[in-house]
């Protein structure tokens, strides 16, 4: 009987797919992987701003009347971009002022935590509280609330606002991301918007240009959110946003009366170190606190200049 078993199993194994298909898929995924971060950052900010505009619209059906709302106060919100496996793939710390303007700081996810041996992005797996505590410790600013958003929704979000205006210094064509765009001011939606955010290769200043791009895109996107496209946006985002219990989102949202004025920055990091043979950035709470204080304290809104 053993020979029969052997030949039966061999026949089963013989059914396997062509290894070249798998190789091609592996290669494709490898090229796609790093894009998540940027997309997440953009999605998050937009989702939070959009949710804010939308919720009052949706809430009219409920018994809460606007007259009962407290006047809005400034609130710090940690926005968490999650991938399909519910990992925190992008982190954005945002302060929303009573007048509806927002100040947004991208937190590089490769910063090591001080409270554990992990990087900050893996703390989310231990629960949102673990993550928010670490961010409070790192930046010295209180985290009033958090919102988690699935990043895969991003394509639909871009389309829902009818495209986002950006400006390129020169025409760009690059096969990895599929970018194929002319120079100058233009409106991006759907796949082109994604490619614009995804592109990593062929950029003059590498990561720096990439960050500038997503910040320019954010500003453009925030400017497109209106009361008219908000309901459509709400439908897109509604199912995939999760916030902490006890957040009075109505009071939060009442500050937004039109397009969101937004300024963006990236948290400076400490030196590159290794922990347990993993590369990452050393946390630098002193520098981080100073930066966050300055950024949340005021300053100019992001200019909508051209990017590389």
């Amino acid at each position: 009987m053993n020979d029969l078993i052997r030949s039966a199993i061999a026949a089963e194994a013989e059914e396997r797919v062509d290894s070249r298909t798998v190789l091609a898929e592996l290669h494709k995924r490898k090229a796609r992987k790093p894009f998540g971060l940027i997309i997440g950052v953009a999605t998050l900010t937009v989702a939070a701003a959009a949710a804010a505009v939308i919720i009052p619209t949706a809430a009219k059906k409920t018994d809460a009347s606007p007259a009962e709302l407290q006047p809005p106060k400034a609130e710090n919100v940690l926005l968490i971009g999650t991938d399909d496996a519910n990992h925190a793939d992008a982190l954005v710390f945002a302060r929303f002022e009573p007048d509806g303007s927002a100040s947004v700081i991208s937190l590089p996810r490769d910063i090591f935590a001080e409270s554990s041996a992990d990087k900050i992005n893996s703390l989310y797996l231990g629960g949102p509280r673990m993550l928010t505590n670490e961010i409070q410790h790192l930046t010295g600013a209180p985290v009033d609330h958090f919102a988690a958003v699935k990043m895969s929704e991003f394509g639909k979000i871009a389309t829902a606002v009818g495209g986002v205006e950006v400006c390129l210094n020169k025409a760009m064509k690059e096969p990895y991301s599929g970018v194929d765009l002319p120079a100058g001011r233009q409106t991006l939606a759907g796949d082109q918007a994604l490619a614009f955010l995804r592109q990593r290769h062929g950029l003059l200043n590498g990561d720096l240009d990439r960050t500038k791009r997503h910040q320019a895109f954010l500003a453009g996107l925030a400017a497109k959110i209106t009361k008219d496209n908000a309901p459509a946006l709400a439908r897109v985002i509604g199912g995939s946003i999760e916030v902490d219990e006890g957040w009075d989102v109505l009071a939060f949202a009442s500050r937004f009366q039109g397009p969101v004025k937004i300024k963006t920055a990236t948290l400076p990091v400490g030196e590159m170190i290794t922990r347990a043979s993993v590369f990452g950035f050393a946390p630098d709470p002193a520098q981080a606190k100073q930066f966050v204080e300055k950024q949340f304290g005021g300053g100019e809104a992001t200019q909508s200049g051209c990017v590389n």
Binding site: L4, A8, E15, R16, S19, T21, V22, L23, L26
Partner: protein
Amino acid sequence: MGFDQFVAERLDRLLGYATAITCDKHLAQDIVQNVLMRAQNKWERIGAMDAPYLYVKRMVTNDYLSWRHRKAAREIAVERSELAKHVPSMADPADAHAEREAMRARIAVLPRKQRAALVMRFYEDCSDAEIAQVLGCAESTVRSQLSRALQTLRAHELARSATLGVHS
């Protein structure tokens, strides 16, 4: 060994193994792809091991045995057991092909862990110790898994011969 070299040398064999334990080439492809993506991220560690293939095979096996694929495995088992019901009565015992297909169907409905042990023994020619390492259990457990699988297959084989005997 570098990751690319590992993939070039072992991918086809890994796909064969995964297909044999899952009895579903698409599920096998998904699992192998996901595992290799994960393995690549920590290749510095895996590549330095004595037996990287054994470790990656363990990742593939664990992935299949995890709760995530329980539903898929059940559906495949149901489909195959339907198939198995029909094969014996139609098959000519002298037909080696039919006999092999009947055995294939019976292996496909074994419990997942038993099948994994069986495939490692009869397809990968692994020792008890190696199987124990991949399944993360004691060698005595491996032996009992294998003997239970063989017992089931033998019982079916006897039942089948008897049925065919009556009808022929």
